[in-house]
């Protein structure tokens, strides 16, 4: 009995050293492939910088033209406000409204503001005056947003006027933008980039590194060895888990320092949830490696089969609530959709685990399912 135990513990110890040896080997593979390593570390930085400074859905410095037939005090005051607003740049003042169409067609401007003659006197005597706003609705979202900005400017002026003679009835709406008072786009996309990067790196790198063993023929030798190949496969996950956590740290540091997106919730919870998501992605990569035979196929599968759905259905580009029901169902099987909700809650809203436990359970179930399927499908032989 004792002897048996001894043998058992010896086997276990042996397995541990084996596992460590495998992990060491995977780290060597990773660090010796300098180009891939550069891409893996460079990708998140580039993405954060791109989304942070180049690709943004905030509208700044929209060019507008003004056609002022009134040329009175009121119109001048309003024009000053437009010029001072950082959403608008007054391109020129037109003499005639007939020039407006040309300006739109040349694509120089997004909005035109027209004051009719007698603007101030209408305002004084009729207590009512009209301003015409013409927007380029070939991009409907931008047109709508600009309309909103312009209306705000006009409202502000109106309020200022009515200070002296208050209107009989007035409903003032007081807006407060929770969690993101400055309406910064970064708040939306930082969690998005995190989901995208982690998903991409983990899925692609695990599947590629396993398939590489098949392609180079080393899998044949590994299978013929007494080692349980699953041990080897698990050891492949370790370096990528490590790499992903480093990447995650880089993203968080960049977004806090450069983009001024704070981590409002618990940093530990953020990392724990991210680790869970990384494991989900790793098991997805493992599943892919079971299905394909070449590294190229693995890359294609991960890029086209996963990156596109991840971008479309995570929710940081297009709100999932607005999608047709069928697409909403589809979005529910994308792991990053749940991770995105978790990260947004924890990082931006400062929520705790009680707010995101449902999403966490979904990710846990997904991971369990993926691992189960891929372990069951793992072939201890070469397929014919």
């Amino acid at each position: 009995m004792r002897k048996k135990l001894k043998i058992k513990s010896a086997i276990a110890a042996n397995r541990n050293t084996q596992f460590l040896a495998f992990v060491r080997k995977e780290f060597r593979h990773m660090f010796r492939d300098r180009k891939t390593l550069l891409i893996l570390f460079g990708l998140p930085v580039v993405q954060i910088l791109l989304f942070g400074f180049a690709l943004t859905n905030e509208i700044k410095d929209s060019r507008i033209v003004i056609c002022d037939y009134a040329k009175d005090e009121a119109s001048r005051r309003i024009i000053e406000r437009f010029a001072a607003n950082n959403h608008f740049v007054v391109e020129e003042s037109l003499k005639s409204h007939l020039q407006i169409e040309d300006a739109f067609q040349e694509g120089r401007i997004k909005l035109a503001v027209i004051f009719p003659a007698n603007f101030l006197s209408d305002l004084h005597h009729l207590h009512q005056a009209q301003v015409q706003l013409i927007a380029d609705a070939s991009d409907p979202n931008t047109a709508n947003i600009l309309k909103g900005y312009a209306t705000n400017i006009l409202m502000d002026y109106q309020k200022e006027l009515s200070m002296d003679s208050p209107l009989p009835y007035q409903i003032g709406s007081e807006m407060r933008m929770l969690y993101n008072p400055q309406l910064k786009g970064a708040v939306n996309f930082v969690p998005g980039v995190m989901s995208l990067i982690l998903m991409l790196i983990c899925v692609m790198m695990t599947s590629v590194s396993i398939v590489r063993e098949k392609e180079y023929g080393t899998m044949e030798v590994l299978l013929v060895s007494p080692v349980n190949p699953l041990l080897l496969i698990l050891s492949k996950a370790v370096p990528y888990l490590f790499l992903s956590l480093v990447n995650l740290t880089v993203i968080v540091v960049l977004s806090v320092t450069l983009l001024e997106v704070p981590v409002n919730g618990s940093l530990i919870l953020l990392f724990l949830e991210s680790t869970l998501f990384i494991i989900t992605a790793l098991s997805l990569g493992l599943l892919i490696s079971n299905l394909v035979k070449t590294q190229q196929a693995a890359i294609l599968f991960s890029l086209i089969g996963l990156m596109v759905p991840t971008i479309l259905f995570t929710g940081f580009m297009f709100p999932i609530e607005n999608m047709p029901v069928v697409l909403q169902w589809f979005a529910n099987v994308i792991p990053s959709r749940w991770y995105y909700v978790i990260i947004k809650s924890v990082m931006i809203k400062g929520a705790g685990i009680q707010a995101v436990w449902k999403e966490t359970v979904v990710l846990l179930l997904m991971t369990g399912f993926l691992l189960f399927i891929s372990f069951r499908n793992f072939k201890t032989r070469l397929e014919a």
Binding site: T17, Q18, R28, H29, T218, E220, L223, S225, V227, T380
Partner: protein, 331 residues
């Protein structure tokens, strides 16, 4: 259970036993009713051109693939039910270079040692002779080694756990002539250590270095015997024909009615006649001279394994055209 198996092992000396193994990939039949046995301590050669089914047979014996029908035993263990135990006892060197190119010689060796739960030192005496040749390059990455060095490293990795049976699938393909000769020297030494070796090769000249060989083509075994006896079984007399301007003559000669077969072999042609009458060779010489060839020489020659292979194929009505011949002869 285990004790029983060991007993079985003792009373039969066949370390590899293959019984009417068949395997198809879709419509292509890779192996058809293949049966052979390798005795303990034998250096056994599987000789056949590319696509003959050698690699498939290796994969079935190394438990990497399941046969469609038939059974295979290695070290007295069934290749299907006892595959885990088999994997503990065999060393396998696949045809493709299957080491980690980005790891150094030493790292590869250590990794494979750990894989088999042993260390480089434990069985060092077995691989010493081979390892000393690559030791000067132990920090070099495997991808930067020459073909011969890679092959030695792969052999070391396959031997590191002192397997009782060694499977070498085309170990000398793509390796220079000197390294090939050295490699066969190493196999002889391993045999002396008591390791049973099954080696496949498309090189006919390597066949004579084996204790016994099985000639295989299109998934079927043509003949099994010692190289000597296979050559002795060659029917009729073989002639070597020499003359200048090699390119055109084979086709011309094959058109003649009394020629059974004619293949280029090195600098000359190996010709066998349909009827071995004494006058046929003289006829051929006169015919060639009449055709305008100079310095024609026709004389009997001892057949080699390749000639036997061709004859065995022709007996079965299979023909290999000169152009698409895939058998390889050494240099």
């Amino acid at each position: 259970m285990g004790g029983n198996r060991m007993k079985n092992n003792d009373c039969q000396s066949s370390l590899i036993k293959c019984q009417s193994v068949s395997k198809s990939y879709g419509d292509v039949q890779a192996l058809c009713e293949v049966s052979f046995q390798v005795e303990e301590g034998e250096l056994y050669g599987l000789i056949g051109p590319d696509g003959a089914g050698k690699t498939t047979l290796f994969r079935i014996l190394t438990t990497l693939m399941l046969p469609d029908s038939g059974s295979a035993e290695v070290a007295g263990l069934d290749s299907i039910s006892d595959y885990r135990d088999i994997r503990n006892r065999i060393g396998y060197m696949p045809g493709k270079f299957s080491l980690y190119q980005d790891l150094s010689v030493e790292e590869n060796l250590n990794f494979f040692a750990t894989l088999f739960g042993t260390s480089l030192h434990e069985n060092y005496d077995l691989i010493r002779d081979i390892y000393v040749q690559i030791e000067p390059f132990k920090t070099r990455r495997a991808g930067n080694l020459s073909g011969g060095m890679k092959q030695k490293l792969a052999l070391c990795c396959a031997l590191i756990h002192r397997p009782s049976v060694l499977f070498l699938d085309e170990p000398t393909t793509g390796v220079d002539a000197v390294s090939r000769r050295e490699f066969w020297g190493m196999l002889k030494n391993l045999k002396r250590e008591g390791i049973t070796i099954l080696v496949s090769t498309p090189y006919m000249d390597e066949a004579t270095l084996c204790d016994r060989i099985a000639l295989i083509q299109s998934g079927k075994i043509l003949s099994i015997d010692t190289p000597r006896r296979i050559i002795d079984k060659y029917a009729g007399t073989l002639y070597a024909v020499k003359a200048e301007n090699v390119g055109r003559w084979a086709r011309d000669i094959r058109k003649k009615k009394d020629i059974k077969s004619c293949f280029a072999f090195g600098e000359s042609l190996h010709v066998s006649f349909a009827q071995s009458t004494g006058t046929a060779p003289d006829h051929l010489r006169d015919w060639l001279l009449a055709k305008g060839y100079n310095d024609v020489e026709v004389k009997p020659v001892a057949p080699n394994i390749e000639d036997c292979f061709i004859q065995l194929m022709e007996d079965r009505g299979w023909r290999l055209e000169v152009g698409d011949r895939r058998l390889k002869t050494g240099d």
